[in-house]
Symmetry: C2
Subunit: 368 residues, 2 copies
């Protein structure tokens, strides 16, 4: 194997493929990157057991072939090379990779290529086309609600659901739920659960643009095809919670409030709230005024935020962390909160655009 390519495009490709190399696999070879030179392009592949990333760049191939090298060391060497053409070649014995760039030469031991697992076969069955920016945004807007503990493994993933010409992303743990949806032109019904960790890496590779990503679904895998880059993630097994039955479609109080004002007030109140006490903050919603209070042995905070209220007065308390997470993911100047009682879930959403629904369970308190 021997080829010449541009240092910058090689560095970018390595950085993309490395996102699948977690070092947490128990197969040593998965700490490597597989590099394949053929047909005037090189393919770089990184994998762990849940995620595989394959990316291609143009190169001048002098001799076809392939090699596996340590991902971290190879990536660092490429990154530190001067910004010129770079030559990579496997030595005669097939034991090492020689990297030459101007007057620099590095020789890196290679790993056993035969041990490198082949990528999962993806049957081109059901697939959709959608903008990368839209998917990236839907991931960002839900992934923070994925369960962090392994009590119910299915909740450590994000539900991707297509039905009735809508694509939904849903994440929930025991105390909150995030739902984002967009219109899509698809007559197929799909329901898969993608691990939160792989989705997080996928969102780093997706661009903020309207460039298309083609998503293919199989029984056990999902493939995100960006053109030069393909990302394959394992799916989580099992049935997801019927989230629709959790979301209340009725309420007794509707509150319209400026997002930045309530966010900053809750952030200040949370400064004296304690994690051991569920980051407890109380919201008294009466007569177009939200009074936010918190107290602990450190001190106490009282905040007033003006709002427009329709309905009954409500006194309710939350884990401030959950409210802050949601408020940071709403992007309009004004937001809506819908409440029913001090022990019922609270709905939060943008005032105009209805493509996000967030739900946060309250924390019980004495003397409500």
């Amino acid at each position: 194997m021997k080829f010449i390519c541009e240092k910058n495009s090689l560095q970018e490709a390595v950085s993309t493929a490395q996102k699948a190399v977690t070092g947490k696999s128990n197969m040593a070879v998965l700490e490597g990157l597989l590099i394949i030179a053929s047909n005037n392009e090189i393919t770089i592949i990184g994998s762990d057991k849940d995620l595989s990333i394959e990316t291609k760049i143009k190169a001048e191939i002098i001799e076809e072939g392939s090699i596996v090298v340590d991902s971290k060391l190879f990536g660092e060497i490429i990154r530190k090379m001067p910004n010129y053409q770079i030559e990579l070649s496997k030595d005669i014995n097939g034991n090492s990779l020689e990297i030459t760039c101007k007057k620099s030469k590095a020789i890196v031991k290679c790993m056993n290529e035969e041990d490198y697992p082949s990528l999962p076969y993806i049957e081109d069955n059901i697939n959709i086309n959608i903008s990368q920016g839209v998917i990236k945004n839907m991931i960002k807007g839900t992934i923070f609600s994925v369960a962090q503990d392994e009590i119910r493994p299915i909740l450590m993933g994000v539900l991707l659901e297509i039905k009735n010409n809508k694509i939904n992303f849903v994440a929930l743990d025991g105390l909150r739920l995030a739902l984002r949806y967009e219109n899509i032109d698809s007559d197929k019904d799909i329901s898969v659960v993608i691990p939160g960790k792989t989705l997080n890496e996928i969102s780093k590779i997706l661009s903020d643009t309207n460039d298309i990503v083609n998503i293919t679904f199989t029984q056990n895998q999902v493939l995100f095809n960006l053109g030069n880059t393909k990302i394959i993630s394992r799916l989580l097994e099992g049935e997801y919670i019927k989230y629709n039955s959790i979301i209340p479609y009725d309420h007794k109080l509707k509150v319209i409030v400026k997002k930045d004002e309530i966010l900053e007030s809750i952030e200040r109140a949370s400064l004296v709230a304690r994690e051991t006490d569920n980051n407890f903050v109380k919201l008294d919603m009466v007569d177009d005024l939200i009074v936010i209070t918190s107290n602990s042995q450190l001190g106490n905070v009282r905040e007033e935020v003006n709002a427009i209220m329709q309905g009954e007065e409500i006194h309710i308390a939350f884990n401030s962390k959950y409210l802050i997470d949601v408020l940071k993911n709403l992007d309009e100047e004004e937001i809506i909160m819908e409440l029913t009682s001090s022990i019922s879930p609270c709905i939060l959403k943008n005032k105009q655009n209805d493509n996000s629904i967030y739900l946060v369970l309250p924390v019980r308190f004495l003397n409500a």
Copy 2:
């Protein structure tokens, strides 16, 4: 105590005084900031056993007085407050501080003010005036060479020495030395050793400008007076090493080389060097060419850097970390290396400006 001031100037003053609050003291009250309101200004003081910082800002004093509050919590509350006028007042019982800003009110428990130690008395004995930017730069250019282990405590400080109308900063551990000097108009001889840790905090407060800092020296303390801010550091006891006898003033090879080229080459070579092997890299200096090599079980790197050489050829090896530290602190395009043999220290300095001298000891190697 009751006063009104601007949120932004209060936040900046708190951030300055907090640099002395390390949380490592065994006196609980030193996790607090002392706030004193009198004479149309407020003074904020932070301290640990080695460092005290006092800073003043203008305020509208309604009632004079003082209070001690937890540094971290108070700092976070001030930082999160809206950018308006802010009112601080001690409650009637003297148990807490009430912070009011627009519609936000926070009440923070206060600490026992009587336990707060008084600042060391600084007799205005010997003092000098010098530009803050110059001192900041001298600290940055030497502090990385301070010893990190406590085997010889005096080496955990930087020697500040004034003699013959020069001010010298010197730091050394067993394997390298950093010396920076500037001209100064002073007829006094001074030699003190300032702890590296406090000097690091001091450099964060000094500006990059030509604003003057007045430095006062006493037996046990040094005071940096910036006008509104005063910083007092404990001095280290004991005699510093006679560093002049370590620096060779003769050499057998002088090398002139582009700094970025040799720095980047050594950085690449260090990628396969191992910490367990002293980050060993070898430099062969022959016929205007520096060949840099390193190897380990990971692989090997060979780099060529052109240079202008005067004198004998030399083959020498170093801990690459030490060379990289020095090269990053030299700021000219071309630098000079002066060498005598493979077992003698190497001198590094800027080609033009002679106000920096760095010395790095070589690492021994077989088959020299």
